[in-house]
């Protein structure tokens, strides 16, 4: 087991004080994905090239503007990890053949939404892990095809109302366990993060940066427009996602899964649900006890296996 160095991010006061990502992006007010990206970028720094797939964050860089101090390549919805492969390999070749100095090297970072990560881009992602590509993957997971108006995706939770699941029971499917799918490839690192837990996030990004190979991050990204809540609630909803156990903060490292924050006194899931319009039909016009307890039971079962 390799030693993971001590973190420099012991508490909030140790967090980077400079904001590297520019302001004025066309992301929605209260975008949880943008919040997480800000925190991640402050740690990653500008010696990066972001390889993007079609999604909300494609609009971060609209000609001739960009909030990134480093580089950027937009690819397509299915193949951002393959773009990372091409750039990583090319940089390695240029350094090996001494056509550029090592100082010119860049961290290659894939940035996609859940639509790409959980679905269309999964094959390309699997390929990079099988080839042990040295890169960082950041999935901002807003649990639906957010950029096109929040149709349900493979990341949408059970019962959520989306623009393609408007019925009384919401989305009939279940959120795909991308963490488990990624971890099954045995990459260097897999972690879940959320912007409302900045210290946990910072430590994980810091840890990932010190590793080689595929380092995979899923950031749950509360989405005011897609989840239907007031933008000011983003942090609160993010905190509740952790406190209710909906979003387990964990990492896969050296073949083990470690929970980095176990909510000992889990709050009932409805505390999380009732703040979001996408779950309003569970409470109005009358309370849908069956569906609420179904959701609660799933969470309880998950944590019983962890805590025991």
């Amino acid at each position: 087991m390799s030693e993971v160095p001590m973190t420099r991010y012991k508490s909030l006061k140790h967090m980077p004080s400079t904001r590297l990502l520019g302001t004025g992006t066309p992301m929605c007010a209260g975008c949880g994905g943008l919040g997480a990206l800000h925190e991640i970028y402050d740690i990653l720094g500008e010696k990066t090239v972001f390889v993007n797939a079609a999604g909300c964050m494609t609009l971060m860089s609209v000609y001739p503007f960009t909030p990134f101090r480093g580089s950027w390549l937009y690819t397509a919805m299915a193949s951002a990890p393959a773009g990372a492969q091409g750039i990583r390999d090319a940089l390695d070749i240029l350094i090996e053949k001494k056509r550029i100095s090592k100082a010119e090297d860049l961290q290659v970072v894939v940035l996609t939404g859940d639509g790409s990560a959980y679905g269309m881009g999964l094959s390309a992602t699997s390929g990079t892990m099988e080839r042990d590509l040295d890169y960082l993957y950041i999935c901002y997971d807003n649990e639906g095809y957010g950029n096109t108006g929040q149709q349900f995706s493979a990341a949408t939770p059970h019962a959520a109302k989306t623009s393609t699941s408007m019925g009384p029971r919401g989305f009939s499917g279940f959120k795909k366990d991308l963490f488990a799918i990624w971890a099954a490839h045995k990459p260097a690192y897999v972690a879940t993060v959320i912007g409302s837990e900045p210290v946990d996030l910072a430590r994980k990004i810091e840890k990932a940066m010190q590793m080689k190979g595929p380092r995979m991050i899923i950031a749950l990204s509360p989405c005011p427009t897609g989840w239907d809540y007031d933008p000011k609630e983003t942090v609160e909803i993010g905190k509740l996602a952790v406190k209710t156990g909906v979003w387990p903060l964990k990492e896969y490292i050296n073949g083990e899964i470690i929970h980095t924050k176990i909510p000992r006194q889990r709050q009932p899931v409805e505390e999380y649900l009732k703040l979001q319009g996408r779950f309003k039909h569970l409470f109005e016009p009358q309370r849908n006890e069956t569906l609420i307890s179904k959701l609660q039971n799933k969470i309880d079962t998950y944590w019983e296996n962890i805590e025991s």
Partner: protein, 424 residues
């Protein structure tokens, strides 16, 4: 310079090797596999200083190729048929990135029905992508045009990916004597890849391929790509002349065979045009004033060269090894567009043949020549012809009879209303 017996696939691999390619993202597909097998072996045995990565799809392969070219290394890749179509989204995308690299396509018919044999529907589907296209008819051309393609792709006036096309089976698996240029001479000819501003470096952050808002910037970048593709005509002539000086083999955007004082001409692409050459020889022996005109470049489309070459011709037989469903031959349509409104424009007859590796016989070439001549006399082209012989139809009926017997044996209903090739 040494002479070797090489398949078309072998010649393509040699082209990538002699061009000192840095990077090869790959994905195997018949009949292209021999190219990547040869390259993989050379790399494994230290004969090539190249990194090769087998991707999980052609879509990813073209993404990686474009991304590596956009980072500043020389890239080669190869595919065929379904692979080219699977990558289609990225063909358009990486051309828009203005990422120069060379892609070999080994032409093969498209599903459905699925087949392994050759025709040009795959490559004509990539026509509007922004890739330049060079079409080969011999194994020597495959090697030489691969070297030329790197010069063309990397030229400042072009900066776009180039496809070198060869026909599956007829070229990919046919051994021909090929002159191999000396490695040093080839290296000198292709030169170093200078990516200039197309790169990712820590000291020079850049955003590539960003989104645009609105039709105006979109149109600007699209027009720029179109104009750069068009520059390919001038640049091709320059780099082909330089190639001829160095290696003694001259290539043109449109190749002419016995076109001097010709009144009739075949127009076709690819390896079957070597059969057309034989037909021209035979017809010339019988007193016909006929030649062959073969576009090497399909994109950019050499309109002026066609107009000059065909301006004195009375009748043309265009033979397409592709079919645009509901329209006909693609080369025919394009040639009609190029010749329309020209003074004394020839009468242009259209023929579809050689789909899925179907042979085009000498008799059919004679018949097409005859049809083209009659069209001149009548001052009007007949409706497009789909080549199919009585013999073939009889053989097809036999297959259908077997299918029917087997189906009846299984006691299935005749299914009169269902269509599709699986049923007949």
């Amino acid at each position: 310079m040494t002479r070797q017996l090489l398949t078309g696939n072998g010649a393509a691999a040699w082209g990538a090797r002699l061009a000192a390619t840095d990077y090869i993202p790959a994905f195997p597909i018949t009949p292209q596999t021999e190219i990547i097998e040869a390259l993989a072996n050379w790399i494994d045995y230290g004969e090539m200083d190249t990194r090769m990565v087998t991707m999980e799809s052609e879509h990813s392969m073209i993404t990686a190729a474009g991304a590596a070219a956009a980072t500043g290394v020389r890239v080669f890749s190869a595919t065929s048929s379904q692979g080219l179509l699977y990558a289609m989204e990225m063909l358009y995308t990486v051309a828009g990135w203005r990422a120069p690299f060379v892609l070999t396509n080994v032409s093969r018919g498209l599903a459905a029905p699925i087949t392994l044999e050759s025709d040009h529907n795959d490559i004509v589907a990539a026509r509007d992508s922004g890739f330049l296209q060079l079409h080969c008819s011999t194994c020597q051309e495959v090697l030489d045009n691969t070297l030329i393609a790197f010069r063309l792709a990397e030229d400042k006036r072009v900066r776009l990916p180039v496809i070198v096309n060869l026909d599956g089976f007829y070229l990919s698996f046919t051994r021909e004597p090929v002159e191999l240029p000396e490695a040093s001479a080839a290296k000198e000819y292709v030169g170093e890849y200078d990516p200039e501003n197309i790169q990712f470096r820590a000291s020079a952050p850049v955003s590539q391929a960003v989104a645009v808002l609105g039709g105006s910037p979109y149109s600007y970048f699209r027009y720029e790509t179109h104009l750069a593709v068009q520059n390919g005509l001038t640049v091709f002539n320059e780099v082909a002349d330089e190639f001829a000086e160095k290696f003694g083999r001259q290539y043109k955007t449109v190749e002419a065979y016995r076109m001097e004082d010709a009144e009739l001409a075949f127009v076709m692409m690819g390896s079957f045009s070597t059969k057309a050459m034989e037909a021209v020889d035979k017809l010339r022996d019988s007193g016909w004033a006929i030649g062959l005109c073969r576009p090497r470049m399909l994109r950019p489309f050499p309109i002026k060269q066609f107009q000059e070459m065909l301006s004195h011709i009375k009748g043309i037989a265009v033979i397409d090894q592709n079919i645009s469903m509901g329209m006909g031959g693609v080369l025919h349509t394009e040639l009609m567009a190029a010749m329309y409104g020209q003074p004394d424009a020839p009468v242009i007859s259209s023929f579809i043949g050689g789909l899925g590796g179907r042979d085009i016989t000498m008799e059919e070439f004679f018949e097409m020549a005859n049809t083209a001549r009659n069209a001149v006399e009548q001052g009007q082209a007949p409706s497009p012809r789909l080549l199919y012989s009585e013999n073939e139809l009889r053989e097809m009926r036999k297959l259908q009879s077997i299918a029917k017997v087997e189906r009846d044996e299984l006691g299935q209903s005749s299914g009169e209303n269902s269509g599709g090739n699986t049923h007949e």
